[in-house]
Amino acid sequence: MSATGLGASVKRTEDIRFITGKGRYVDDINRPGQAHAYFLRSQHAHATINAIDFAEAAGSPGVVAIFTGQDIAADKVGGLICGWMIHSKDGSPMKAGAHPALAQGKVRYVGDAVAVVIADSYAKARDAAEKINVDYGVLPAVTDLKKAVGAANIHEAAPDNTCYNWHLGDKAATDAAFAKAAHVTKLDLVNNRLIPNAMEPRAAVGDYDSGTDTMTLYTTSQNPHVARLVLSAFIGLAPEHKLRVVAPDVGGGFGSKIFIYAEETICAWAAKKIDRPVKWTADRSEAFLSDAHGRDHATHAELAMDAQGKVTGVRVHTLANMGSYLSTFASSVPTYLYAPLLSGQYNIPAIYAEVDAIYTTTAPVDAYRGAGRPEATFVIERLMELAARETGRDPAEFRRQNFVTTFPHQTPVIMAYDVGDYAGALDKALIHADYKGVAARKAASAAKGKLRGVGFSAFIEACGIAPSAAVGSLGAGVGLWESAEVRVNPIGTVEILTGSHSHGQGHETTFAQLVSDRLGIPLENVAIVHGDTDKVQMGMGTYGSRSGAVGMSAISKALDKVVAKAKKVAGHVLEASEHDIEFKDGKFTVKGTDKAIDFGSVALQAYIAHKFNGQELEPGLKESAFWDPTNFTFPAGVHICEVEIDPETGIVNVERYTAVDDFGKLINPMIVHGQVHGGIAQGIGQALMEGAQYNSDGQLLTASYMDYCMPRADSVPSFNVDTIETVCPSNPLGIKGCGEAGAIASPPAVINAITDALGHEDIAMPATPAAVWKAAQKRPMKHAAE
């Protein structure tokens, strides 16, 4: 392994601009003559809009224009869409209510955009917005997921506030497994609603060039091409070749910047309307209200086992809160990104899941780090832990007994696991976590009046999303391949144009490592170009831990083409058959001779084209590739969390956190570990701190960092992170993906540790000090094991 090649922990090259304050985020972009947008948002969760009076506001200093839903309707601006069709059990298509970018006739959550004020400055736009008078007819809010069916109707198109009733699996076989079970474990679980909180709030600058009739949108996007496609083909702002979407440095996404939102749409549209650039940057309060939230499931789950401890069935019924509108990929999250993972790492013969997707008058809910897979992992890993406790089994050994051990393994819920070593990860994790020392540490805590507990989570996820035809058959509106173009310049430097988008993942370094390794050129001779639809060919973007497994596979495929072409050029230069040319460490050699030429010289020869017939071999050295995965990838691992609870205050300290993950081949272990750290902290946040709360009027109570508890440096420990490796067979690099694992694995590990410490199961996420204190007052119900 070279110092910069595959598997090396190369320091990130992009860091230099970030640590010197020279990153370029959307809010850092200013266009000449730009005006500023402020969105007037509904203060009501559910209301008709009877009238909007903005006469006084229009005369406010600095105001350029005020637009409402009527204006975008008149311009035939299309509504925001959901790109994944789900069908209910009865075969009927999901029921999606219209989602105009500015409300038309009705508002459906607190934060719904009602009007946009455009002025010379943001402050003046906001000053003017205070003078707008909206006459609302207030309707009942619908915030309780369990009571939403039959409550006030939110969308005419969706009776009973139901988007779909979906299911997966064999109900009869599963019911039969439960009928024969020696033991059944039952749990009611809430997967708490989270607010993503990428540190950079969403922002947009719309710019229109009337000379060329071209629209440019600078925006905080994880997938600028998808944004362009939707804004063009569905919302109808401009044809694709007249619409440029640029996502420059983006300050974190975690899913929340996948989606096509109202504000970005309006900035682009309004820039043309007023023929002046229009800029908008969310403040954090707006982000809380209007970014798509994550999770929000209420689930009843059951696990059946036989007398020997073999799991024989899992049965799940989930209510999924979609919020007020169906966001871009919302429908796929509680269905195909969720139920197919309910088999976990286990050989379970029968699984049946029902999911009811419900509208409420709350912010839309869509994919957030892990998207469906954390919810599934929480269900199966809480069930496994409790089943072990109820039947007096060690939770580690009970899992081991049920692990899938032969591959490929077809689960009863779609997925075909390709490769893994679940026991290998467990063994390593038990050592790192000093599992043998737990009893002594529990006793030491007890002596101090503290409660100590240990919890496991053996997670699996499906990522590397995804084979296009497969997801198409499941309802996806797009294919989920990725693209790459490799441009070799005449002096041998290389530009990689990738459809992936880096917003913290370090692609500029890891992708360059791949190129450096393959072409034998130094890292500094490689530039990674992404995030601009004018520069980069159509691509699908970054989410679902797909940039390594899918994005880099596309680069790898394009590099193969470059090397093949370069061999032909080298053959002409070295006067040998291309079949006799070998390429290694940046040098082309003729087999069995000392004739050689380096990569840069071949590139130059390809462009000057003197040594070959340009009719037989095209000049130049530039290749592109589209990589369509053949399967999902299946990262998996074992996480062990150890907590100590102060029963007097309810404070939970995470004392140790161990993660042993199998991500296949690692390109840059330093970056992989960093991804895991961040994911674990988000999962600890979900388990202990974070939770969006609406009151019964639909007001968001956790609407700032004053009330929404973010993990801070002193609320998490350092993590003990390690990996094992089984090579992924479905892509050329053997990569599985690592971006979401920490957030998927950690919530059940933490809650299993807390329930172990408490001696009972009655604690929900987030396990705040107040909640844990209350739970610690309850007399422990003795587990069979004790």
């Binding site: 402050a123 906001r126 000053d127 205070e130 309060s285 007097e648 205050t649 309810g650 701190m689 709360q693 109570l701 956790t702 960092y705 004053m706 009330d707 929404y708 508890c709 973010m710 609320s715 705040t768 000090p769 107040a770 204190w773 209350k774």
Partner: protein
């Protein structure tokens, strides 16, 4: 935030004159006022910035008291050996306010004039029996606080300094709100020749208050165990999404005992 006129007078007299404008407000460190204005929850038409007024910042010992200027930053109180040696709990408290950057701007006077029910300084002022000195008068702590965000300060009254009597022992313990990091329950315990005072911030629905049963118990026996039996009524406690009144009432007891232990 809404726009406003800005003045930075050089003397207390000029500051008072500037405050005569309608809806004028004093700007000290701004760590609460500015966020409130940014959210457009406050909209003063005139801000009177005290940064240039001479003599408002500084820490000194005067007889049996530590005197701290109103514009003294939290960080300076936290870092003062004089404060730590004389009133350990006060120095510790200052080091627990907000975060390091907030402590570099926030001031004693600003905190007391605002009287946020979850602020830290009110607990020290009340427990130590401090005297608040304004441009007009001296106000003893027991007379100063008037419920949530309210004090006896007049419209044209500016805090200039606070005199903290030096106790024999003192400590402040804080249970942070997990999200905001403000005090969910903060208890300041001070033992002096004249007795023991216990002040609680963050928990009470009317703001900072003295816990007199604890004071009596600790006067008889200054030990954590002495207050174990004191029942704290939930009736007057704040109840919110971070914890209900029962929890806060319980925490008052726990945090008070830890403060007594820390003062030893």
């Amino acid at each position: 935030m809404h726009n406003f006129e800005y003045a930075a007078p050089a003397s207390v007299a000029d500051a008072v004159a500037a405050l005569a404008k309608p809806d004028a407000k004093v700007l000290a460190g701004g760590q609460t006022l500015l966020p409130t204005m940014k959210q457009r929850l406050a909209a003063p038409t005139q801000l009177v910035d005290l940064r240039k007024v001479a003599g408002l910042a500084g820490i000194s010992r005067e007889g049996d008291a530590v005197v701290i200027g109103a514009m003294t930053r939290h960080a300076d109180v936290a870092a003062s050996p004089l404060v730590h040696d004389a009133i350990k709990g006060l120095g510790a408290l200052a080091g627990l306010i907000g975060d390091p950057a907030v402590r570099h701007r926030g001031t004693l006077g600003g905190s007391l004039a605002n009287n946020d029910p979850a602020a830290d300084y009110p607990a020290a002022v009340l427990a130590l029996g401090a005297t608040i000195v304004t441009n007009k008068r001296e106000i003893v702590a027991d007379d100063y606080f008037k419920g949530l965000f309210e004090t006896v300060l007049g419209e044209d009254e500016i805090i200039t300094k606070v005199k903290f009597p030096i106790p024999e022992k003192s400590a402040y313990e804080k249970f942070r709100n997990p999200a905001s990091r403000y005090a969910m329950v903060g208890v300041f315990v001070a033992k002096s020749k004249t007795g023991v005072r216990v002040a609680v911030t963050g928990a009470g629905s009317s703001g900072v208050f003295r816990q007199k049963e604890m004071e009596a118990a600790l006067a008889a026996n200054f030990a954590a165990d002495a207050i174990k039996g004191v029942k704290i009524a939930a009736a007057n406690m704040i109840s919110d999404l971070h914890g209900d009144a029962d929890y806060r009432a319980h925490l008052v007891g726990v945090v008070a005992r830890r403060a007594v232990e820390a003062s030893a």
